[in-house]
Symmetry: C2
Subunit: 408 residues, 2 copies
């Protein structure tokens, strides 16, 4: 494809929930695109697809490298984001705006909904015989995009969760009790599983891990907590915000009467401590344990400043560079996917947008134990490289005890 | 005091809530004590004062330097902790145990209650004419010890809170709404104030900060949120878990009916999302804003793995070394206090245990604005050095906007 004729402006945008490395991908597109003579201007849409319809484009041709690199190292979406899920009509408007601005290359960084948006916009361009290359760049802390071995954003969120639980394990040893940590992930338990990555010794928490992929039976949960508490005098539980019972009903709605729902009828799971508090009340009431505490890990999981996986940063940058190369060198549309090619190494390839669009990946069976209350070694092996280098789980004293004199 | 005659075993223990650097102080005692010939064995009491009464002493003489340094870099109390507040009778038992084990030097790392324990044990020794040196080493994430400019543990917790809110500011820009973050600190607002340390631009959050030292008037809070939301289209609030109304009633009890109380009759504030959820409900009901979210920052504030202030680490180590020097070289008892001697530098001196014991420091008036809804520049100047070096608040894009074609 050395006889490239397609020439014009390039647009990058970010959609959905932010991650700690989504700006690495945005900056990866901008800096890679600067190498190609056929790219005239590099625009960034503000607030994702909303900015495209409203013609809110930032001229990133006029950004400095130093500031781009500083933004790349900053969590959340530098171009701001949106939760709007475009209808085919909305996509048509997006395309009209892009056409008016002579956008010939479009890169959208987002999850499975975003890949579907790219697909529809691309079809609109084809139906109008408008020469146009569109590529979806993956990101999501939930790690739930199909085909991909994992997705940019997950590794840093997993590092946050692993660091939180490693610290909580030391805290809970010092002042014993039951601790319940509620973790993001409505449908996929990968991030909840990451709570296990800081464990060193057999007695280290989290001792119990519950996923949205397996039914959460309250009586089993209480029996599990009782067993662990009797064994260690303490118990740390990691639970996905999305846990549901055998019938698919969310536990948070099962345990209380009034719950908030969003426009799609989904129960609000993030930004509230309700599920943790309800589980605490159950443990106190049914097991009679005194010190029971819950934390909902909240938005820090995706945007805490300074907790980032270097592996995740590098991959988020690379996946964007590859996206630009597929469109600009190979003249292709699609979704870039990440494959694991070694232990540990990754490669990138382009797949048809339809293969990724609007599909959800779940935790494979072999990543969860039979009881559905912990991860397996296979999960640890899978996830550990993703949280990056220099992850130091800390140490404990190991000196011998002094012989007793008075109380022996 | 070159003619030192006091000779025997040394004991170190940790009390109260853990911090990210309390092990630096413990290890500081152990390594410094190894230099003195009159110290025979170095013991660590397991679970603080409980371990003393139960004779649960770890022989830290037999720890390696490599493992001690690894523990020093690990959050929470390596010797484990306790919430027991000793009575004079309990202190008598503690002293009997120490006497039986020929403990001649006692170092207790903790807050204001711990300093009171040291005082009582020391008086017991004096009344029995038992030669004994006892020194209190300060620690608390709340930063509420009197005389001290600040206390070890605060800087790292403040760095966590500053990092969380800096990240939340980027997140809340990307997907706008009202965000409420609830921060530890029952009586002192220092840690809540630290939420401001990541602000760079005037529009950066947190936009509103509420302290336990000022009455929290719900109508004023709602008016404040409304003002900020109208100005910026978003609003970030940092609120202390200990906020109370004009009469001293905790807001969390004012807004709900059933609240848990501890043995001392204190309302449980940590390990529950109740206050945040109640404030969210108020904002939604009274201001009609759609996207309102709350996080309770939880135990990560004091024990998150890998978020530590290097300044705090260094000082926690030094304050312990000084404690040993005061007892071993100068033959003195007391509480080590930290003074600010330069901008930025600290010094250490020993004060009488009575001066620190069971007293609480509050945010000075000049650290809070007149409205009681934000910190002042004086607070920023005070707190910024404490969170350590390499605190990088991130960056925003600053490219110009492209001229509109369709929607102008």
């Amino acid at each position: 494809m050395s006889q490239q004729v397609l020439k014009g402006n390039l647009l990058v945008a970010q959609g959905g929930g932010p991650t700690a490395v989504i700006n690495q991908s945005m900056v990866g597109v901008v800096l890679e695109a600067r190498r190609y003579a056929q790219v005239e201007r590099i625009y960034g849409a503000v607030h994702g697809v909303e900015g495209i319809v409203n013609e809110e484009f930032m001229d990133l041709t006029r950004e400095t490298v130093a500031n781009l690199e500083a933004v790349a190292a900053t969590p959340s979406s530098g171009l701001l984001s949106t939760r709007v899920k475009p209808t085919p009509e909305f996509c048509k408007k997006m395309f009209e705006s892009m056409k008016a601005h002579n956008i010939r290359f479009f890169f959208y960084i987002g999850g499975n909904d975003s890949s579907d948006t790219v697909r529809i916009v691309n079809e609109e361009a084809q139906s109008q015989n408008y020469e146009f290359r569109a590529v979806h760049i993956p990101k999501t802390v939930d790690n739930d995009l199909v085909i991909n071995d994992h997705t940019p954003g997950f590794g840093s969120a997993a590092r946050y969760v692993a660091s939180a639980f490693a610290g909580i394990n030391y805290d809970n040893r010092a002042l014993a009790g039951v601790y319940i940590g509620v973790i993001m992930g409505r449908h996929a338990g990968f991030l909840t599983g990451a709570s296990a990555l800081g464990r060193v010794f057999e007695e280290d928490g989290p001792h119990l891990i519950y996923f949205p992929e397996r039914p959460f039976i309250i009586d089993n949960f209480l029996a599990d907590v009782k067993n662990v508490y009797e064994k260690y005098g303490r118990c740390i539980v990691a639970v996905s915000e999305g846990i549901q019972d055998e019938t698919g009903e969310a536990i948070v709605t099962k345990l209380q009467d009034n719950v908030e729902r969003d426009a799609h009828g989904n129960v609000q799971l993030s930004g509230t401590g309700a599920l943790g508090d309800l589980l605490v009340a159950e443990v106190k009431a049914k097991l009679g344990i005194g010190r029971v505490r819950a934390d909902t890990l909240g938005y820090m999981q995706r945007s805490f400043l300074g907790c980032v996986s270097d592996t995740d940063q590098k991959e988020a940058r690379e996946v964007a560079e590859k996206a630009v190369q597929f469109a600009l060198i190979d003249n292709l549309d699609g979704s870039v996917v990440m494959e694991r090619t070694g232990d540990y190494a990754v490669g990138y390839r382009l797949v048809d947008l339809k293969e990724v669009a609007a599909k959800t990946k779940h935790m494979p069976e072999e990543f969860m134990n039979a009881e559905g209350n912990n991860v397996t070694e296979a999960f640890i092996k899978y996830a550990r490289p993703l949280i990056g280098s220099d992850f130091n789980p800390g140490a404990k004293l190991r000196a011998p005890m002094v012989e007793k004199i008075l109380n022996k």
